[in-house]
Chain length 429, copies 2
């Protein structure tokens, strides 16, 4: 089979008519599917149904430190919830503060606090002329929106198969004191599914920042979100807190995680892990901000899971629910585009996304065409700072919410749109 | 009976010996009571035990708009929770955003956002040389801590029986563009139990702020926290949002409330009510900060209370629990200090506190003496900006947590300490 680029103009024109007819046909089907956000499906939420039954009026509401979870206090979270979140992040309970239902909120607050109060005694960022963040891309749009909201200059760092381009990271961090942070999703990254290699993590830990208040924002959102049960099909990454401590940079990182995609996206708990010095600094503001987060929900989590083994067992149920959807997408992509040369995509072992690259200049048109026919994708460019993909090529596919059958249908339409847009593009060249 | 000031030196010396003996005796009792914070008692928390049973895996988890509360989204809160919180604040659901478990957190975020992003397009406060807040005092220490944390200059405004001294409020707000806000607890105020008169509310609404971005922080924390069931023993205040709108100042106020002292202090929901323009501005940041607050807990609240009638009925159970404690304190105060002329106190119809004034210069010593004998009170001065009571006179008594018997015991010690400190003071003069 010829790739599209090998086709003659006549062949492309014939293909175009064929694809246009198929597209009109598809539009007539009245699809209404959403592959835009990393949103758990109703079936995944049902997996945690028992979560609603594990804390009743018959149960003791005291935390293991004797504290009544129903009352005020315990800013850092109840000990058993700190332990659970620490185990999820492979760190110690003392390194962890458990917060409300969204780790995004902790990240926002961390940036906001750095602007108003600085980082461990350094000048508040709002008093600086320029604050820069490194943004490995494609990356998580909501990270980029936080820094954009605060007027931070965002510098795109290309992603490699091992994580961000570390030459570039070192170059910036070690030389430019205006660089105050970097957004990282180190495991099963959003949207690539990349897990940082040991060398990458070690190079992060060994950074010699020009700015004392440079921090790595290590959003370990998918650290337990494997798609496969087999150990050799699960990624593992080094522990950044440990590596930073070993490298003499104990205060250089904030790690974040949540149970939003473990129990309920609308009712989980979140946590930040960091050095004692960072936590002490965070608590200076946090103790003014709140008397304590929702400890009843913290207790509910611990009662439901018991411990990290309970969490891991639960995650395998998620994997069983997610895997067929990923495979449905990959199957259609391979079958329909495998020999066309007009797209490439990731085959992740975990996380929530498949990342797809069109030929340059096609992504926006593909997303628009999909939308016109009833399939909503994440906006093209969203995975880049300021929403601008310089190549107009990357598209994030979120297979979690629809059923496997719907995912296959949606992907059928997607590949059709990729083909049609690419043919139009090639004909216009 | 003579007042203390009418006593001769000899009489005072005799009284002193007597009181010292009683104090030594009291210390021997090994009391361990906490009257320091407005913390619900275990019995009050038990009132909401059914709150833990009203949402199980057998229940529909959809909000009335069809949205699955377990999943991401619905930034403003589910419609029925907005309605419930609106009814609590006597306003409309469209004016309300329902947030996490602490209204304090919303207030902090509101101040923080004003510093980093300004208020409705005005200059961010972090770019200003000076930001001032008016602080009616005695007031809520945690309010003052927020503004202190942000380096705001706090100006004490005396409280009258009708609310803050409005002459002074008008003078500052209408003439000084650096005055950006005022902290108010308009009903059963912390710690006085004062409810603002209609005239006070109307004068607030009619302010002509020199600063466009001046806002009233209307913390209606105790709006449904009556101590008595009889209508004539319940305070009522005018609706500030309505009054501001009528006076042509629709955007001048943020109102806050929560269910922290309704369901669980550690697991309630909170809300902010304001004009559409303010809410739109708030949401510009909030949509970057979070995808949505804990909607499962919002639904749990609605299922538990059904509606505002359910809330009000529940609050009467709280009143039945709280009233005997207030009466126990008031009874001891009246009996022991009523004719001494060495203290005065409030007799509030609602809220969480009794406020007590010693003779000038005695409050700190009284609090210290109580602590030495095992009764913890809120730190003297805490009810004033920067923790400094210029008269060293106001003490906040929080009767909620201990039992009525314990409250009587604690108050016995308290009056003993007041007497002893006052006698020492008078003798030293």
């Amino acid at each position: 089979m010829k790739t599209y680029k090998e086709m003659t103009r006549e062949e492309l024109l014939a293909l175009k008519s064929e694809l246009e007819a198929a597209y009109e046909d598809a539009k007539g089907k009245g699809l209404k599917l959403d592959m835009s956000r990393g949103k758990p499906s109703p079936a995944q939420l049902d997996l945690a149904a028992g979560f609603l039954d594990c804390l009743t009026s018959a149960d003791c509401m005291k935390a293991e430190n004797g504290f009544d979870t129903r009352n005020y206090g315990v800013l850092e979270g109840i000990p058993e919830a700190r332990k659970l979140m620490a185990d999820i992040m492979s760190t110690t309970p003392e390194s962890v503060i458990v917060c409300g239902n969204a780790s995004l909120n902790i990240m926002y607050d961390t940036v906001a606090r750095s602007f108003t109060h600085g980082v461990m005694g350094e000048t508040p960022w709002c008093k600086l002329d320029k604050v820069k963040f490194l943004c490995p891309a494609p990356g998580y749009d909501r990270h980029f929106r936080i820094t954009e909201h605060f007027g931070v200059e965002m510098i795109t760092v290309p992603m490699t198969d091992n994580g961000p381009d570390m030459d570039m990271v070192e170059q910036y961090v070690n030389n430019d004191a205006a660089v105050k942070g970097i957004w990282c999703v180190p495991m099963y990254s959003n949207p690539l599914g990349t897990s940082y290699s040991d060398e990458t993590v070690k190079r992060f830990a060994a950074l010699k920042p020009a700015a004392k208040d440079f921090r790595i924002f290590w959003d370990n959102a998918y650290c337990i979100h494997h798609l496969y049960a087999e150990a050799d099909k699960q990624d593992k990454i080094l522990n950044i807190l440990d590596e930073c401590a070993k490298a003499g940079n104990p205060d250089m990182v904030y790690e974040f995680a949540s149970t939003s995609k473990v129990t309920f996206a609308g009712g989980g708990i979140s946590a930040v892990a960091s050095s004692q010095a960072n936590l002490d600094w965070i608590k200076k503001s946090m103790t003014v901000q709140t008397i304590g987060y929702d400890k009843v929900n913290q207790l509910r989590h611990v009662r439901f899971f018991k411990d990290i083994n309970g969490v891991n067992a639960h995650m395998m149920k998620h994997a069983d629910s997610m895997r067929p959807k990923f495979l449905a997408v990959l199957d259609v992509l391979e079958k329909e585009l495998g020999e066309t040369g007009i797209g490439r995509w990731t085959n992740p072992k975990g996380g929530y996304f498949i990342s797809f690259w069109t030929l340059p200049g096609c992504a926006k048109a593909v997303v628009a065409k999909c939308k016109e026919a009833g399939v909503v994708l994440t906006g093209a460019g969203a995975t880049y700072p300021y929403g601008i993909d310089p190549e107009d090529s990357n598209i994030r596919i979120a297979p979690s919410f629809p059923s496997p059958e719907e995912m296959a249908q949606a992907t059928d339409l997607f590949v059709l749109c990729v083909k049609l847009v690419t043919v139009e593009k090639l004909l216009a060249e």
